[in-house]
């Protein structure tokens, strides 16, 4: 296996697999809360209960799974990337690569960007499933909705483009988070304090970029 393929694979594990736990927890609870709060707001007996599942499904696929997952990942992955690269910069590891004649940005940054763009859509798919499942568990356990109504709601008036839209968003967010965080980390100058500042700036800037891109993509594609 080539050096770069191995690096991308390692980064996929670091960025993707190591984020499965946090993504699972966050998305399951978000689905559950969405279901409970939607039910709380539906007081009219004229509105069928299946609408709860429709709302959980659409809000999950269109917004919660891609955007909330990526905001969470911008904290976890973004700070990890910026902190790692910043530490490498201040401890002269990046200089060591340059002196050897290795293109440090291509060696260090490219695998992170590629791995993010590969794993983020997978994490978003997982988040989507778990969020909807979280809604199912909460709805049925709290006697808000019957399993049959929930599944019927999930199946009604489904637009497949929602999935495409969520995946497009996840790839764009992955690119933004990994490049912004890499930039902040790679150009760190100073010491440990500056590494911390770079990590904070990476997370803040990534979050803002994700939310701005979210709005732009919604305007462009929906």
């Amino acid at each position: 296996m080539g050096v770069y393929s191995k690096l991308v694979l390692d980064e996929c594990i670091q960025i993707g697999i190591n984020s499965v736990f946090i993504v699972s927890i966050v998305s399951t609870f978000i689905g559950a809360v969405t279901c409970v709060q939607t039910a709380y707001n539906l007081v009219s007996p004229l509105v069928p209960l299946t609408i709860i599942a429709v709302i959980v499904r659409d809000s999950t696929i269109l917004e919660l799974a891609p955007t909330i997952t990526c905001v969470v990942l911008s904290g976890k992955v973004g700070s990890n990337i910026a902190g790692g690269l910043g530490t490498m910069r201040i401890t002269e590891q990046i200089d060591a690569l340059e002196v050897m004649g290795i293109n440090s940005s291509s060696y260090l940054v490219l695998p992170k960007v590629l791995a993010s763009m590969i794993t983020f859509p997978m994490l978003v798919i997982l988040a989507g499933f778990l969020s909807i499942y979280g809604g199912y568990i909460a709805g049925t356990a709290a006697d808000i909705i019957t399993p049959e109504d929930y599944i019927s709601g999930l199946r009604s008036d489904f637009k497949p483009f929602s999935i495409t839209f969520a995946l497009i968003k996840s790839v764009v967010f992955a690119f933004l988070i990994s490049t912004i965080s890499s930039f902040k980390g790679y150009y760190t100058a100073g010491g440990a304090l500056e590494v911390g500042q770079a990590s904070t700036a990476a997370v803040t800037n990534s979050c803002i970029a994700v939310l701005a891109a979210d709005f732009l993509l919604a305007q462009l594609l929906l």
Binding site: T87, M88, E92, D95, A96, G101
Partner: protein, 248 residues
């Protein structure tokens, strides 16, 4: 041979290096000495291509490193080994992987040959038993030795060491100095060491260049350094109480 000609470097309005020239011969351990902030590390970074000076030339056996084409620069870089101040070992790799890294990235050698070469270099610096340890698990002196092993793994013609004794106890410092001298003699490398350690200066300084406020103030050998009439150099050398007492 490495030759530097009229190296000038400024950061903003501040002149860091002002017209530094000199020659570093194969098989010699040449020292660049001076107090903190005199431009030693900047000069080293100019020589290894991490900083581009405004003016001047760095010639490696006649090949201009700064203005040469990409192939020339690449070829020169492959002949260079650098020991950074903190070792600059890759945190995510074991000691052996760190040493093997340049071979993995820059050569097409078979894996067995790479392993053999990396293990030879580790053995040469006395760390064959630490091959599987992570950089966080070894001491500062061991990190420097791993850094030396990594620097020599590609059989370099030029070895640069940036403050190899910083942060080390006197005994470990002497061991590192001896190792640098032995390697220089053994492989006939052109070695340039940046230091402000007086022990190193007397132990391994076959040729010494003294920098003061970005200028070359004195050049000579360890045997002539104590006879210099340069006030700044004498002030630097005799800042050490032991040497001051010896002189008195």
């Amino acid at each position: 041979m490495i030759e530097i000609k009229n190296i000038q470097k400024t950061f903003g309005e501040r002149t860091i290096l002002s017209g530094i020239s000199g020659k570093f011969l194969p098989g010699d351990t040449s020292l660049i000495i001076g107090g903190s902030g005199t431009g030693k590390s900047v000069l080293l970074k100019c020589m290894i291509g991490l900083i581009k000076p405004e003016e001047g030339q760095v010639l490696y056996d006649g090949r201009d490193f700064l203005t040469g084409d990409e192939d020339t620069q690449k070829a020169i870089r492959r002949e260079m080994g650098v020991l950074f101040q903190g070792g600059a070992l890759f945190d995510s790799k074991t000691v052996l992987e760190n040493v093997r890294f340049p071979l993995d990235m820059l050569t097409n050698m078979p894996t067995s040959e790479k392993m053999e070469r990396a293990q030879f270099c580790l053995q040469r610096v006395g760390l064959e038993n630490a091959a599987d340890r992570m950089p966080s698990e070894i001491s500062g002196g061991m990190k420097k030795r791993v850094g030396i092993a990594r620097a020599i793994v590609m059989n370099p013609k030029y070895l640069f060491c940036d403050e190899p004794n910083s942060g080390l106890d006197p005994l470990t410092s002497i061991k590192i100095d001896e190792l640098i001298r032995e390697i220089t003699d053994e492989f006939k490398i052109t070695t340039v060491v940046i230091t402000h350690d007086m022990n190193s200066m007397m132990e391994i300084g076959e040729k010494i260049m003294f920098l003061y406020q970005g200028k070359k103030m004195w050049e000579g050998t360890s045997s002539t350094i104590t006879q210099s009439n340069v006030a700044e150099l004498n002030e630097f050398i005799y800042a050490n109480k032991l040497l001051r007492d010896t002189k008195a």
